[in-house]
Structure formats: structure tokens, C-alpha cells
């Protein structure tokens, strides 16, 4: 019996596995197995194989010659051939260490980054990794060789949340560091000064980078579902305030919702793909977003 890899798209399942490479491979395999009947398959120019046309396939890949001979529609599939440079920028600040369901935002982001790296390297793209908190903590330049994956995965598996965030400043620093045009993938909870973050991201766009932002949040951050009176302690600053959840829940949700919507609106206006995810969101959502972006890049 063939294993159904799609179960590995569930963060809860992935979190139980050991080894970043396994996790990344299973996520991508799960994702790819789901794609076999979908529209996302290859962007290369080198022909790989034919497969039967499925509704939704772009007709530009139809092999008209085969149609002329057999009266059947076949799609031409290609091996990828690319020179895309992708930078995975990982937020390693203290707030990313928050977890309400066993998986921290940092873990979720790491798995996502690993999966993306695995997928991109499989598609012959160059992948680099940048980790920051208040400043750039780690920089691995992009490369497209397969063994580069192990370097990235090792860094991601060693990653721990620490310190406070200075996302805006870090993005400026990163923009200085990344000179060649490429795909910037930011994985962060964006818990920093909103204006500075947006300015930083716009700077990437200014330098002609394509940008995808995976906004990782914990469900508790969004829903604020505490049931009892609690004293909330800030993970980064240690500040404590007493809270009556049912008294502030509605207003809190409205504020978070407005905050997300502002990011969504402003970033999209700047041509930045904005993907809000929760640590309970299956990985295919993020991977699809990436593929869509990758497809647009050609």
C-alpha cells in the first residue's frame, strides 16, 4: 500500500517527526503528490514527459502534434531549468517561540522554510537562508546544489527563539546584504513597528526583488480564547498585565484583524505577496502561495 504523503502537510503530524530533512521531504512529497492532478507542475523548458490533459491545465502546454495524431489532449511537462535566487528570511525573535498548541511559530516557520528550500532546490533554484532577531544572526548565501539543502536544514534545526525583535532594522540590513535580484521569502510574526516593517519590505521591492511574506501567528494570538482571568507576560520584554479575556476579546480580535488587514492591503499595493498563516495551517497553503509566485516569475 502506497503511503499517503499528504498527511505530512498537517503541522501536528510533522511536529511528531524527527529530523529536519525528513520533515522537509515529507512535506514536499505530500505537497507534490497532491499536485499530480493539479495545475502546478514544472516551469522548465526541457521536456520531461507527456501526461493527459486535466481541466485547469494551461492550454499553452498542450501538445498539438499528439492531438493531431491521436485526437487526445496531452500536456507537455518539462524539467525545470532556472536561475532563480531565493532568500529565506527567518525571524528568530523571542515572540516566535510562542506556542499554544505544542508547535511554536518558530518551529512552524522552520518547517515551512525547510520545505520551501527542499522544493526549490529540487526545482533547481538557488536557496539562501538569513536568520535575524534584533540584527542579522546568520546568513547562508543561496546555492542550487543539492547538498546545500543539508546546510540550510542544519541551521534551521539548530534555530532557537531569543531576544527581542527589530524587524524593520533587520530588513534594512538584509536589503543591503542581498544585492542580486531574487525571491525574498520572509517568515515572521511581524510583531514589530508596523511602519518600519513595511518600509523594510518596500525596500526589497525597490531593489527589484520579488517578496513573499509568510505572516505566522499562533491561533491564540488571533482568537485570544483564554477562559479564565490571567496575568499575561510579554515573551520579549517580560512585562506583565492582568487580563480579563472575555472583557477584551472582542476588541482584541478587532485590533488583530485590522492589523492583518493593514498588512494585507499595504503589502499587496506594493506588489508583495502576503500570506497570513497560523501554526495550525497546513503547509500546502504556504507552498501553493510560493508556487503561484514562482509561476508568475516564469
Amino acid at each position: 500500500m502506497t503511503e499517503d504523503y499528504r498527511k505530512y502537510l498537517d503541522p501536528a503530524v510533522i511536529s511528531r517527526l524527527k529530523g529536519m530533512d525528513i520533515k522537509a521531504r515529507l512535506v514536499v512529497e505530500g505537497f507534490v503528490s497532491g499536485l499530480h492532478r493539479g495545475p502546478y507542475k514544472g516551469f522548465s523548458v526541457e521536456f520531461a514527459e507527456h501526461r493527459q490533459y486535466m481541466p485547469g491545465d494551461p492550454i499553452r502546454y498542450l501538445d498539438w502534434k499528439v492531438y493531431g495524431k491521436t485526437d487526445r489532449f496531452y500536456i507537455k511537462e518539462y524539467e525545470e531549468e532556472t536561475n532563480l535566487r531565493a532568500y529565506l528570511i527567518m525571524d528568530g525573535s523571542g515572540s516566535m517561540g510562542y506556542s499554544s498548541n505544542g508547535m511554536t511559530k518558530l518551529e512552524y516557520g522552520s518547517y515551512l522554510a525547510a520545505s520551501l528550500a527542499y522544493l526549490m532546490l529540487k526545482q533547481q533554484d538557488s536557496v539562501g537562508l538569513l536568520i535575524f532577531d534584533t540584527k542579522l544572526r546568520k546568513y547562508i548565501p543561496p546555492r542550487s546544489v543539492k547538498k546545500h539543502l543539508h546546510v540550510i536544514l542544519k541551521e534551521l534545526s539548530d534555530l532557537g527563539a531569543r531576544k527581542e525583535t527589530d524587524l524593520g532594522e533587520s530588513l534594512h540590513e538584509l536589503a543591503q546584504r542581498v544585492r542580486r535580484r531574487g525571491l525574498i521569502i520572509l517568515i515572521s510574526d511581524l510583531l514589530d513597528d508596523e511602519e518600519k516593517v513595511i518600509r523594510g519590505l518596500k525596500l526589497f521591492r525597490h531593489r527589484k526583488h520579488e517578496v513573499i511574506v509568510f505572516h505566522v501567528l499562533d491561533p491564540y494570538e488571533v482568537l485570544f480564547p483564554f477562559e479564565h482571568e490571567v496575568i499575561l507576560k510579554d515573551m520579549e520584554t517580560g512585562e506583565e498585565i492582568p487580563a480579563v479575556p472575555w472583557e477584551v476579546r472582542k476588541e482584541y480580535r478587532e485590533k488583530v484583524s485590522a492589523w492583518i488587514n493593514r498588512y494585507r492591503t499595504v503589502l499587496r499595493q506594493s506588489g508583495i505577496d502576503y500570506v497570513p498563516v497560523r501554526t495550525s495551517t497546513t503547509f500546502d497553503v504556504a507552498l501553493f502561495s510560493y508556487l503561484e509566485k514562482r509561476q508568475r516569475l516564469g
Partner: protein, 684 residues
Amino acid sequence: MNFLNPLYLVAALTALVPLIIHLLHRQRARIEVFPSLEFLRRMMRKKTRRFHLKQILLLIARILLLLLIALALAGPTLTGGRVVRGHLPTTAVVILDDSFSMQRTEGGSSLFDEAAEKTIDLLDYFDRTDDVHVLTGSYPSTSFGASGTSDLEGLRAALREADCSNRTTDMAVPLRQALAILQASSKPNREIHIISDMQQAGWEGFEEDLDAGDSDIKVLVIDMGRESANACVEDIGFRIPAGTDNLEMEVTFKRFHSGNAQGRVAEVFVKDALLDRAVFSAGESSVEKERFSLPATEGFLWGEVTMAEDRLPIDDRRYYAVPSRRRVVGVVGDAYYVKTALSPEGGGGFRPLDIEEGSLNRESLARADVLVLSNVPRFSPLEVEAISEFVLAGGSVLIFLGSRVDVGAYNRNLLPHLGDMRIEGASPAGGTAFYTIERFERGHRIFDKFKSDANPFADTRFYQFMKVRAGDGHTIASFSDGSPAIVEVSDRVMVVTTPPDVAWNDFALTSQFLPVLHETLLYLSSRARLSRSYHLGEEILIPSTPAEGEVVLEGPNGVIRHFPDAGGRIVGFPIRSPEEAGIYFLKTDRETLSVFALNVDTSESDLTKADINQVKSKLRDFDLRQVSETDDVGESVSMLRQGRDLARMFLWAALALLLLETVLASSFWRRFRAPGEDDAFADS
């Protein structure tokens, strides 16, 4: 504010429960790490403050709710006076029911003894600043001990010595006295305490509801009584059957309410000797009459009728005294036909006593039972006084009006003393014209012999008569023109408007004259003093023959009163009734002047309880509370004084707080519901 059940105040401790829960709940707040407090920082201060305010409000509402319930259970009352057992300076009238119905025994002691004890207990709730009056509830009402005294010890001593009376209850009298006392009082607190078996009969004397005016008078009714069955010897009547000279006694037994009425033996005694027995078996609320023939004898007959005793024995025995001799009829005036009809040959058991015109006086009337005034012209003031006293002392009068009557003298002097009737003058003499008696009251005793006849007087001619205005009198026979022929002026005075005189009528010559005269005299004498029986408590005038020397009144307990020598002129002895039921003798050294019986008034024998709502309606101007004998006197008095019961108000306040608590708590729960999805996020 005072509390009637202060022990319930312990329940107020439950008010601590919400406080303890609140404190425990506060201590349980957990520390939760959170990525960022950026969104919470500002709103939380405001919201938390509001939440804690709400929480405090909820806490206060819950504490107050429990406190109010505990207070309500404790029976809070509001008063303008001092607290707990204290009170404002008070004038109080205690009406202690000492009527004979209170003599009944319930569980060993009499109701009166228990009521007196209650009254003594009640005195504990007064002090030296108070004026306390203790009145009897029986008629006539009197005082126990000193009236309006603050000498409570003296009152207690008087009450310990007090005995229950043999009189009846009339609450109207002591209540009116109480009202007068309290309205004259300057003390700020005024109270009436009624300690009674609350017999219905005692509350029937109110002609109108008692008006307290603006007085703020509190009334506490301590109901001592339980409704129970009772039987009594209600009445003893006497008659002389027509055609005989023997007395016949008719005894009425009466039973009130249910109970075993079967087989109660009644015995008739004549002068301490058993005459006869009967079995009284009247059922519920019913009456049974038994007749006994009394032996012929001279002088007075007296004795008693007894029945087996129940829990109220005083009314199971009834005394009687009756003159056994023939009825003496004093005849004055133009009365040939009357005297002839009363002669021994005439029969009927009468002994005529001829009294000359102008010689009517107390002495001449002393031996008469009935006085016939036949066409007497006028009367001197002394004669009028003698006739008035005669009637007052129980004698009866039959007046024939005729041609010799001085209308003005009658109207001015005599008739006003006897009733409301007036003479208007003689009817016109009509020659050969005549009147007949067209209408007569067929059921009246004096027409007893003619019940079956169509109109026995149809052929009797009346040529002339005196026109009269009957006033309050009762016309029992009328002439053909509607004018009164025979008027019953009062229960002991009768007037015939035409004389036994052939010049005015031929009535005296007819066969109807003798039976009508006899029955009229029998009727009047039987309503007079054939039975010399009085009720205890009455003011009575004892008729007597003229007496020489000192007269004494001797009762069951020996001589109770001495009257000074009246020199043979006294005809009636005014006596305030003694307290003891029994046979009483008015006598001199040489002879017995009169014998009479004193009995209890059996209206008191009906132990039916009064409807408290009717009592309240009679006393609607008063702040009345009723408690039972088992209730604590102290609590009852506290309740009376401390006035307005706040328990209900407290319960309403508790209900309002419960609603507030529900609203506050539900707002908490509404916000506490399970979180839902966030739209903005899901949309992504």
C-alpha cells in the same frame, strides 16, 4: 429596626460566602506568557478597571442579597420607638374577657385562668412610664385593680385573685371605654389588648363600627378560644292550661354545634326535691322542649332544672321561681261586667281585687299581678307613679276607655308613662248606627278560642269608641271603619278603646266577652311576672308586697344585702344583680316578700367563634393584630409595637438584587462564551 426572630441573623454569615469565593478566585489567576502585549496594553487598563468594578458590584449584590434574605427571615420590623423590648411611654387598656364562656375547661384549667395568666405575662411588657387599665370584657364592664395605674404589681395581685364572672360578653362596651381612655391619653403609644375566647355573641353589640378618629391605636387580640360544642338549659317557661289551676313548666334545652348529644339526663327539682327526669337528646344546633306539671301549692314555687354537666357547666343548670297562687287582678272603675267575669264562678284561676277609684297606690297594687282600669276618669300624680312602678316591677295593665275618660288627663299624665299611644277623642254617637270588629289578629293569644271561627265578632255591635293613635303600639283588632279596637301598647299594657258598657256596645253581653277577657288577662299575666327570673348582670327591680321592718336579700351564699325599713310602703326593690346564679329571697323577719331566680344569659352559651374579618371591619380604624393563645406574648407585643413588618420589603429588595446579579452575571457569561473564528484571518 427590631427583629422578631433574631436567631435567623446567624444566616447573615452566608453573606461571607461570595466574599470568600471572590478572594479565592482572585488568587487563582494564572500567569500566561504571550508574544506581545501591544494590542492589550491600552485597552486592558480600561477594561480591567471596568471588569473589577463590575466584579465588585456583583460581589456587593450577592452579599446584600444573602444579607437581605437573612434579615427577612429574622423578621425585621420598623418602629419609631426604642429597640428590642423597649417601647414608647404607653397607655394601654387590657380587656380581659371574664364572661362565663371563659369558665369552660380546656386541658384541666379554665380559659379564664389561662387568660388571666396571659394578662399577667402581658404586664411584663409595661413599665413605670406606662398607664395600664385592665377592664372586664363582660357586661357591665368593670376594672381589675386600680384604673390607669403604673402599679403593675398591684394589677398582678388583683389578677391572681380574679374570678371569672357569670355574665355575658359585650365587647362594644369595654372597647368604647378603652377608646375614651386612650383618646384622653397624652402618651405617644396607645394600645388595646383583648384577651378573649372571641365568641361571636360578644361582638354583636356593636350598633356601628368603632371610630378611632385620628388616634393611632394598636389592638392586639390574643385569641384564647377553641370553638367547641355546648348544650344548655336555655329557658324555663310557665303557663296555666285553660280550665285548670295547675302550673305547667316548659323547659327548653338547646345544643350548639356537634358532639354527643345523646342521652343527657335532665332533672327537675322543686325546692330541692326531685320532681321528674327527662332525657335530652337534641341533635346539632337544635332545640328540644319538655313539659312538666308542677304540684299545686301556696306561695312560691322554686327550684332548678339540671342536665348532666359538660365542659361549661354553668349553663347546664337553670333556676326558676314562680308564684303558685292564682293571679290577682286589681280592678278599678266602672267594671261590673269585668268583676262578674272574674268571680270564682267565672273560673280561669283569677282572684279579683277590688280597688276603689282614687285609692290606687303602691300598697293596693302590691298584691296584684294584673291591673284593670275600666273607664276610670283620671289619675292623681301619685296614682300615675304607683301604676308606673307597678309596670316597672313586672305588673301588667288592661285599660278600657269609655265615656268617663278625661282625654286630656290620660294623654298628659298616664299614657306617656305606658307607651306611645294617644287618645284623639270619642267617635261620633251614631244613634242606631253601629260598628263591628271586621279585622282581628287571628293568631294572637287572646283570640286563641276563636281560631276556627269565621268572625265571632260579626254580630257584636259597637255604637261608640275612643279614637286613638296607636303610635308604637300594635293594633290587634280594628273596627269596620279601620279604627283600632284593641291596641297592645307594650308587652305589659293593653288598651281596649270601648268599655264593657252596654251604652257603648253589647260586647259584654255576648258569649265572646268572657273568653276574650280571660285570655287577655292570662296573656298579660304570663308576660308579666308569673316567672320571676332575671339574668345575671341586669339591673332589676324586685316586686314585693309591703314590708314592715328590715328587708334582706338572701341568696345561695346567705344574706347579701340589707334594705332599711320602708315602713310598709315599698313595692319594688332596685337591685344590681348579684354575681351568683340561684334562687334569691327578699324577706323580712316574718315573711317572704318575693322569690326570684337569677340565671346566666344563655346567649353566651353559643361558643361559635367570631369571624376575625368582621371584627377587623368593626375596628377598621385600628391597627389590629390577632395572635393565638399559643403565641409568645412577648413576641406578639413586640410585633404590635414594632409595627411595620419589613420582611416583605426586604424580600422585594432581595429580588431586585437577584435581578441585578443575574444581569451582571449574564454579561460576564456572554463575554465568556467559547471563541469563534476570526473573519479577517480566515478570509486569507
